[in-house]
Structure formats: structure tokens, C-alpha cells
Amino acid sequence: MKTAKHMAATRPGAVRGWLASRDAALAALVVAVTVGVAVKFPAFVAPSNLVDVFDDTSILFLLALGQMLVILTGAIDLSVAANLALTGVVVALLNSAMPELGVVPVILLSVALGTALGLVNALLVWKLGLPSIVVTLGTLAVYRGVIFLITGGAWINSNQMSDAFLDFIRAPLLGLPVLSWVAILGIAAMALFLRFTATGRNIYVAGGNRSAAVYAGIDPGRMQAIAFVVSGAVAGLCGYFWVSRYAVAYVDVAQGFELQVIAACVIGGVSIAGGVGTVTGVVLGALFLGIVKNALPLIGISPFWQMAIAGLVITVAVVLNARGGRSAGRRILEEKPA
């Protein structure tokens, strides 16, 4: 891209700057963990396995990118996993009732329903100015409850799902499953959106300094609403992906997954206060979690230790991240001659 090249040209320090950034530190960490696992279990770095890990992390990538938007605007969306579950159950029900419908209506419905659920959050946060953490804590409970109401708690199993419904995301395309391609597209789209569109930039503006955004003619509430709607749409789409991937839909689908999504964002350096965060960081954060999650069973860590190790690794990662994030700031004194 011309602009990007131009920028790099005008700022010779850009590469060095990136190397010193937290994204680079995180990338190094991801590589280190991968290498560490590979030493114990070399097959982990076999291309086919890496493809598996990526594919397994795809849903986390997508959700984390949606969540990132919300966090960038200074809000938080705790309802993503509940939205995902509700949408997933609804499309699974649709599929079991009308298996001949095919994948396209399913995808459209999942995005539409997810968007609608996101819109509920958006309106409450925007129009009533309620704190997002409270709103989404509320809708999280409500959405899960609604699943119970429509299913009576019953499960929808793979034998009730059509082959088309199940096979779509698994279909290989140039060596990668469709699901992985969707994640890659999502990452690229989000990167372009945040860097090159006015709305994308205004998301940073709204979260960076709320009152200043108002002074600049940007409605921070509206930006939050947009973020919630996008996050909802992504969650809805992932609802389909999730039930298709695991071939089952029930009330507790993705229970507690919202915290992993947020963890991916914060490990990726998205500031919980808003206004700071990069797509690269989030992708690395999600990848980091995906690798840890996939590697622990592989290297034969006792199942009882897995949670403790995952917790420790997350904690260490966020501590390192917090240290890396401390900016040097300005200095008044000139460098002293040695």
C-alpha cells in the first residue's frame, strides 16, 4: 500500500520502534512458548498441527477482535459468549427444523440475530448512558436465560444437524479450513477498518478521551454503539461456527468464554481504559492463549495442572505486558556527556 510505504519511508525509526513495542515482546513470547512446547513434543510445530491450532483459535480471534473494538471505546462486552450461545442455539434449532435450507440463510440469520442482541447493549449504553459492564452483565444473564426458555434446556445434537451445516466451516480451501479463512479475513478487515476509515479512527478517539471527543464533534456514545453492534454481529456469526464446530448446542455453550476473549485482548495490550490497542496485539494475544490451550494436553501436563498453568501463564503475560507498556515519556535534561 502506497501510504504505508510512504509512512515507513518518512519514519526511519518505525521498524526499530516496533521492535521495542509490546507487540514485539508479545510476538517473542508466543514464539518462545511454541519453541518450548516443540522441544518437548516436536510434532507440535508440524505444519498440519499449526493449522489445527490456528483453526481451533479462529473463533477466539474473531471474538477478540469484536471485543477489542468495544474495549477501545472504553466499554466492555461481557455478553459475547451468551450472545454466541443464544445465536448458536437458534440457528441449530433452525437447521434441525429446516435442514434443507442450506448454509447461507443460517449465516445471515446468525449475523442478524447477533447484531440485534448487540444492538440491545448498544442502545442501553448509548441512549441511556448506562455503564457497559453493568448492561452486559445484565444481558449476559438474560441471553443465557432465554436459551433455556426456548429449548427447555434440551440439547441439539449433531444427528439433528444437516451435513451442510456441519461441513461448511471444515471444508478445506487452499490447505486451510473455511473457518480459518474467515478468521484471516476478519483480521485483515479489522486492521484496515481501524487504520484507514474515519469510523475506525473515531473508535480510538471516543475511548481515548471521552469529553474531548465531544468537543471534537464525535459522539462517543455512538462509537460505543457501533462497537457493540459489531461485537454482537461477530458473536452471532461465531455462534454458528461454534455449534457447527463442536456439533452440539445447549444452554451452557461457551460458558465463561467471555473472560477468555477479554484475556486475549488484555494480553494483546488493549488498554482496559480505552483508546489503546492494535490488531496485531490482539491477534498475538489470542494466538498465545490458543497455543497454551492446545499445547498443555499435548505435552502431557496432568489435567489437574492445566488450569493452574494457564492461569500462571496469563498472569505472567499481563505483568510483562504492563511493564512493557510503561512509556518513557519526555525528558527535560539533556543527555549528560559521559
Binding site: F41, A43, N49, D52, D56, F148, T151, G152, G153, A154, W155, N157, S158, N159, R170, W242, R245, Y246, A247, V248, Y250, V251, D252, V253, A254, Q255, K293, N294, P297, L298, G300, P303, F304
Partner: protein, 306 residues
């Protein structure tokens, strides 16, 4: 007036327990003057069941029949129920002796353990075969007992080599991922035994997704409705399960027996309607029947029921 029986599943919405509820209703109708209150938590936690138990105590039900999420944690709450004159039966997944009068095992643990290994041996063939177990949560009582029984029986089948026991926590995604890891870690794996209805489905799915259908065989305990597809694809050749309808039927029958004045406790013998009688051991536990094997020949028929 009516005898009110609280039937408490591990969690609501599980097809297995819904089938048990059907059986309970059947028993209620058969006996007459019995009302079944089917209620429970939506997640498989002991705390959730304690809230349910408290609500049932408050309603002064006559009996509680419960499939426990935790054999010990429920004891104080159920003891309180018994102090207030409520008869307590545990079924399927038991409660420690102090917390109930009788416990109804769907089958005996020995029989289940043996059955699982037998199923594995049947599909493994004659050569040396690697076997792995995919369980539910590491704290699940019946899972652990069955795994123990399996390990006791295994030496009788020298060609089966148990290489790993992993835990899918009865979560579809975790079970799926654990199975994936098993497949990678043990390229020669032949059989996966999943004595859990969530785990067996997830394992079958993972095996199919890895393109190993027919090469790696999945067996264990599961529901016909959930497994019919996998049986047809050949990922699962056969599996076993007792009839949950009968289980709910028998548990309700027992609860009513106790309310009507029959004594539970060691060495008792109680009638369970069309299923005959159960005899209880020193610990007050009794077995209903032995597990039933399902395969290509009968699975579709049962899939319509549960």
C-alpha cells in the same frame, strides 16, 4: 393427599434426565396420588443443587430423589431434609451414606466397568491395541468408580493397553480438544472409551473431523439419540447404556415406597413396580439392571425414545 416427590437431576436439559423424568411420571401415574416435581440447577454444580434442595424442603415435599453432582457436599443439606421428615433417595450418581436412605445404581459398577472394557475388546480385535479413556470432570463420582472398575478388569484383556485418561469436564469443546490431543499424542491409538454421554459424542466428532473414522473406534456410555449418526458412520460400533426411563421410574417408586413406610437401609428389599425388586447392600445401595448394548441393529429404534 398427594405424595409429592422432588426429582432432582444433575442439571436440567440433559436428554438423559429428561428421559428419567418420563419414567418418573409413568411411575406416578401407575401408583396414583403421586406428584413429581422435576427441578434442578442448569449447571452441574453442588451449590445449585443445594439451592434446589432448600427450595424443596421449604415446600415440604415428601421425598427427594436426586442424582448428585457431588456425593459429599450435598450431605448437610440432605441431612437437614431428612431431619424435617423428608425421605431421600439418590439415584444414578450417589450421595454419601449419611445423606440418603437408599441409593439406586442404574447398574452395578462392576458390571459397567466390565461392560466398557468388553466393548473396547470387541472392537479392538486381536492385536495389541492402545486404549484411552475420556472422562467427565475429575471429580465426578460415578466416572471415577467406573474407571477404577475398568482398571481392575483390564488385566484380563492383555491385548488392551491403557495409555491415558483425560478429562473433558462434560464440556463439548473441552472433550473435543482433549480427544484431538489424544489422537496426536498416540498415533497408534485404537479405542477411546468415554463413559460419559457428552464425552462420547465429542470424541466421535473429533475422530471424524480428524478423518480417522473407523480407524480409531469410540465406545463407552452414551445416548442412542445422540450417537445414532456416529454408529451409522462407523465411528462408534457399539456402546452401552441402561435405560434412563426405567431409572427414573425405579427411583420414583423407591421414594414412594419409603414415604409409605417401607424401611430402607442395609439388606432391605424394596419393590420397584414393573421392574421387580431391588436389594440393598450394607451401604444401602442397590443396582437396577445391567447395561444394555446398542449397535447398528437397534440404535435407530431407541434413538426415537431417548
Amino acid at each position: 393427599a398427594d405424595i409429592r416427590v422432588g426429582l432432582v437431576p444433575k442439571s436440567l436439559g440433559n436428554g438423559f434426565f429428561d428421559a428419567a423424568y418420563k419414567g418418573a411420571q409413568e411411575a406416578a401415574k401407575e401408583i396414583g396420588g403421586v406428584e413429581v416435581i422435576y427441578t434442578g440447577p442448569t449447571t452441574t454444580t453442588a451449590e445449585g443443587q443445594i439451592e434446589t434442595i432448600n427450595a424443596l424442603i421449604a415446600q415440604k415435599v415428601d421425598a427427594i430423589a436426586i442424582s448428585a453432582n457431588d456425593p459429599d457436599a450435598l450431605v448437610p443439606a440432605l441431612k437437614k431434609a431428612m431431619q424435617r421428615g423428608i425421605k431421600v433417595v439418590s439415584w444414578d450418581s450417589g450421595v454419601a451414606v449419611d445423606g440418603r436412605e437408599v441409593h439406586l445404581n442404574p447398574s452395578s459398577n462392576e458390571l459397567i466397568g466390565e461392560m466398557c472394557v468388553q466393548l473396547a475388546a470387541d472392537v479392538a480385535g486381536s492385536g495389541e491395541s492402545e486404549v484411552a479413556i475420556l472422562s467427565a470432570t475429575p471429580t465426578s463420582t460415578n466416572q471415577n468408580i467406573w474407571i477404577g472398575e475398568m482398571k481392575k478388569v483390564l488385566p484380563k484383556f492383555p491385548n488392551l493397553k491403557l495409555v491415558a485418561t483425560v478429562y473433558g469436564d462434560d464440556l463439548a469443546d473441552k472433550s473435543y480438544r482433549e480427544t484431538q490431543a489424544l489422537l496426536k499424542q498416540y498415533p497408534n491409538l485404537k479405542v477411546i472409551i468415554a463413559p460419559t454421554s457428552v464425552g462420547i459424542v465429542a470424541a466421535a466428532k473429533a475422530v471424524e473431523d480428524a478423518g480417522l473414522s473407523g480407524k480409531v473406534l469410540v465406545t463407552g456410555l452414551g445416548l442412542p439419540s445422540e450417537l445414532a449418526g456416529h454408529v451409522m458412520k462407523g465411528t462408534v460400533k457399539s456402546f452401552a447404556i441402561w435405560n434412563p426411563i426405567d431409572l427414573g421410574y425405579a427411583a420414583t417408586y423407591l421414594a414412594v415406597d419409603l414415604v409409605k413406610g417401607d424401611k430402607g437401609g442395609p439388606d432391605a428389599k424394596l419393590p420397584i413396580g414393573r421392574l421387580g425388586t431391588v436389594s440393598f447392600d450394607k451401604e444401602g445401595a442397590g443396582a437396577m439392571a445391567k447395561p444394555f448394548v446398542y449397535d447398528k441393529s437397534n440404535v435407530e429404534e431407541f434413538a426415537k425414545i431417548f
